[in-house]
Symmetry: C2
Subunit: 352 residues, 2 copies
C-alpha cells in the first residue's frame, strides 16, 4: 500500500482545532482509496517561538524536505509574536525556500451557502486564482532612512524577474487550457505602477503567444475587484502578482459567502520540494478555544493535497462530501449553524 | 457677485460627453446661489497629443495654477496613446505638481440603484475613502536590468515618507472627527509588505495618538476587500495608500451598484494650488459617441468642487437633485434606463 509522508503543522489558534478534522477526513478517504498518510506532527508555531526563540528548529526545513507534502493549519498570533516573525519565520519561509511559486486558490459558490451577492446561485461563480508566490511586492529588499526624524523615508522594492513571471504565467496557461472555458485573465495595474506592471503585461503577452488556444484579457486591479463583485461569472482563471493574487483570493471567497471554507495550495510544480496545503483563513484568535471554527477550508485544502499526490478520485470524493454536508449537514456558527468544528469534520468523514 | 475661474478639461472619450452636463448643472446651481463659474475650456487630451506631441502645452500647469479649481472629465484612449503617456502626462502630472495629495472618494448607496450586494438598502453603505495621492506605490523610481534576456528583472520602489504619510493621516483624522461615527479604518498589509507597510502602521498609530476622540482600527488589504463585500456598513472613513486607496475606491462604488456615479476630489488641502475634481470612471471608449454615458459621476464631482469652494449648501442641493433623479427620473442604460447623457443632465439641472 502506497504510503505518503506528510508534515503536519497545525500552527496557531484555530489551526490547532481544524487540523484534526482535516486529518480525520483524509484518513477515511485514504483507507477507502487504498493508500495511507503517515503524519509527522510538528509543533512549529508561536507557542514554539515563545519556548525556543524561533518558529521552527534551525534544521526545520531539512527535516521535511523529503516529505511528500506539508499540511498547514494557520500561523500567527499577533498579540504574542509580531507578524514579521511568525509569518516570515514559518509560512513565508516555507513558501520561499521550497520554491512554492504557484499559489492556487479555487473560488466556488458552494451549495447551502448564501452569497453576499444578490441573485447568485451555485454554478455562477467557479474560477481559480493563480497567485505568484515568491517575489514581486513581497520582496524583503528596502529599508529606512533618516529614521526617527521628520525626514524619515521607508522604501521597499517590488522585484519581478522574467524567470519568476514567466513560470507563473506558464503555470496559469497550462491550467487554463485544461479547463472548459479556456479563459485566462491577468490582473495588472500598468497605468499606475509604471515600471513593474508594464513588465508583467509584456510577459503575459509573450507567454500568451505560445497558447493560441487560450482566450485572454487583462484588467487593472482596481476595476478587477469591482468586476469580481458585479460580474463574477465572467472569470475562469485569474493570474496575479503576489499582492494582487493575495487580495483577489480573499475577495473572491468573500463573494462566495465565506473565506472560512476557501482552500489553497502552495505548489512547487517541478516537485523538487514538497508543496504545502493550507486554508485561506488565518488563526482567528478571537474564536480560538471554543471549538466553533469551520474546518472546511482545512479539509478542502486536504483534497487539493490528494490531487497533488495523484489521487484525483479521492480528492473529488472529499469535495463531494463537503458539498453534501454544506447542503444538508451540520454547520458551524459562521454559516449560521450551531455545530462544532468536530461535528462538521465527522459529518464530512461519514459522507465520504 | 463672486466669480470662480475653473479650468475645464473634458479630456477623452465619454469625458467629452459628461462634461457639458456637469457644467449645465453647475451653472443652474451657481445662479440659484448667487455666484458664477467662469470656465476656461482646455482641449488637453489624447487628441491634443496626436496633434501636438504632448498631452498639454509646455506651460500648461502655469496657465491654470491660479485658477480656483480644475474640473476634469476623463483621460486616456489606450488604443491611440499609451497609458503611461496620457495618464502620466496629464492626470497624474496635475495631481503631483499641484500637490493634490488627498484623494477623497465618497461611497454611498443611493436611492433607485440596486446594490449587487444582497439585502442592502439606502443608509447601509455610506463611507469615505481617503487615498494618499502623491507617493507610495506610484513612485516612478526603478527600472530594468538585463533587458531582453532571460535574466531580465524589473524593479520599482514604493516610497513612503513621513511627511507624505503623516499629512494624509492627519487629513483623514480631521475629516473623521467631523463625522457622526468618528471611526477611521486604515488599510495596511504589514504582514506581507514588510518594510513600507509597518512604517504606514507606525505613522497611523503615531497620528492617532493626537486624536483620542477618533475610534480606529486597521485591516490588511486582502481581508479589507472581503469586508467591503460582507460588512460595508462597518465603515465610516477608510485611509489607504495610493494603490490600496485606488483599489478600494473602485471596489466600494461597485458595492453600491455602479462606479458610473462615483465622484472624486484631488485636494491640495493647503490651497497652495488648485484642487481637481473628476469622476472615478474612465474614458470608456467602448460606449463613447453614443451619448449614453452616465453623467452623474461628473455632476457629483462638481458638487464636491462647490463644497471645496465654500458653497456647501449649493453642493448639497446638487446631491439632493441627483438623489431625486435617481429615485424617479430618467436613467442611462448602465442603470437599466433608456435616457441619454443629456436627458439625465437636464433632469438633474431641473431638479435643483
Ligand atoms: C487611471 C489611473 C492611473 C488612475 C489611478 O490609478 O490613480 C485611476 O484608476 C484613478 O483611480 O484615478
Ligand atoms: C499572512 C499573510 C502574510 C499571507 C499573505 O499575504 O501571503 C496571507 O494573507 C495569505 O494569503 O496567505
Amino acid at each position: 500500500m502506497k504510503k505518503y509522508k506528510i508534515a503536519v503543522i497545525a500552527g496557531d489558534g484555530i489551526g490547532k482545532e481544524v487540523m484534526p478534522e482535516g486529518q480525520r477526513v483524509l484518513d477515511v478517504v485514504a483507507s477507502r482509496y487504498g493508500f495511507a498518510l503517515d503524519y509527522d506532527e510538528l509543533p512549529w508555531s508561536c507557542d514554539y517561538y515563545v519556548k525556543h526563540g524561533s518558529m521552527m528548529p534551525a534544521d526545520g526545513l531539512q527535516q521535511i524536505r523529503n516529505h511528500d507534502a506539508v499540511y498547514l493549519g494557520a500561523v500567527g498570533l499577533p498579540s504574542a509574536v509580531p507578524d514579521h516573525i511568525s509569518l516570515w519565520g514559518l509560512l513565508i519561509k516555507i513558501r520561499r525556500e521550497f520554491d512554492q511559486y504557484a499559489n492556487i486558490r479555487p473560488v466556488r459558490l458552494m451549495p447551502g451557502i448564501a452569497s453576499p451577492l444578490a441573485n447568485r446561485k451555485v454554478g455562477d461563480i467557479d474560477f481559480i486564482i493563480v497567485r505568484e508566490n515568491s517575489e514581486g511586492e513581497y520582496s524583503s529588499a528596502g529599508g529606512r532612512m533618516y529614521e526617527g526624524t521628520e525626514r524619515e523615508i521607508a522604501v521597499q522594492e517590488s522585484i519581478f524577474s522574467r524567470h519568476g513571471t514567466d513560470r507563473i504565467m506558464r503555470y496559469a496557461f497550462e491550467l487554463t487550457r485544461r479547463r472548459a472555458r479556456k479563459h485566462l485573465t491577468s490582473a495588472t495595474k500598468s497605468n499606475g505602477i509604471s515600471i513593474t506592471m508594464p513588465f508583467w503585461d509584456e510577459r503575459f503577452h509573450a507567454v500568451a503567444s505560445e497558447y493560441p488556444d487560450v482566450k485572454t484579457d487583462q484588467y487593472h486591479i482596481d476595476i478587477l475587484t469591482a468586476h469580481f463583485v458585479r460580474f463574477p461569472d465572467r472569470f475562469d482563471v485569474v493570474v496575479g502578482s503576489n499582492l494582487f493574487g493575495d487580495i483577489l483570493s480573499d475577495l473572491g471567497p468573500a463573494c462566495t459567502g465565506t473565506i472560512a471554507i476557501a482552500p489553497s495550495a502552495n505548489l512547487n510544480p517541478e516537485r523538487l520540494y514538497p508543496s504545502m496545503f493550507e486554508p485561506v483563513h488565518g488563526s482567528a484568535p478571537d474564536i480560538y478555544g471554543r471549538n466553533i471554527a469551520n474546518p472546511i477550508g482545512m479539509i478542502w485544502s486536504g483534497a487539493m493535497m490528494l490531487d497533488h499526490l495523484g489521487h484525483t478520485e479521492a480528492a473529488e470524493a472529499v469535495v463531494r462530501a463537503i458539498e453534501a454536508v454544506l447542503q444538508e449537514g451540520p454547520k458551524t456558527p459562521d454559516l449560521g449553524g450551531k455545530a462544532s468544528t468536530k461535528d462538521v469534520g465527522r459529518a464530512i468523514a461519514e459522507a465520504i
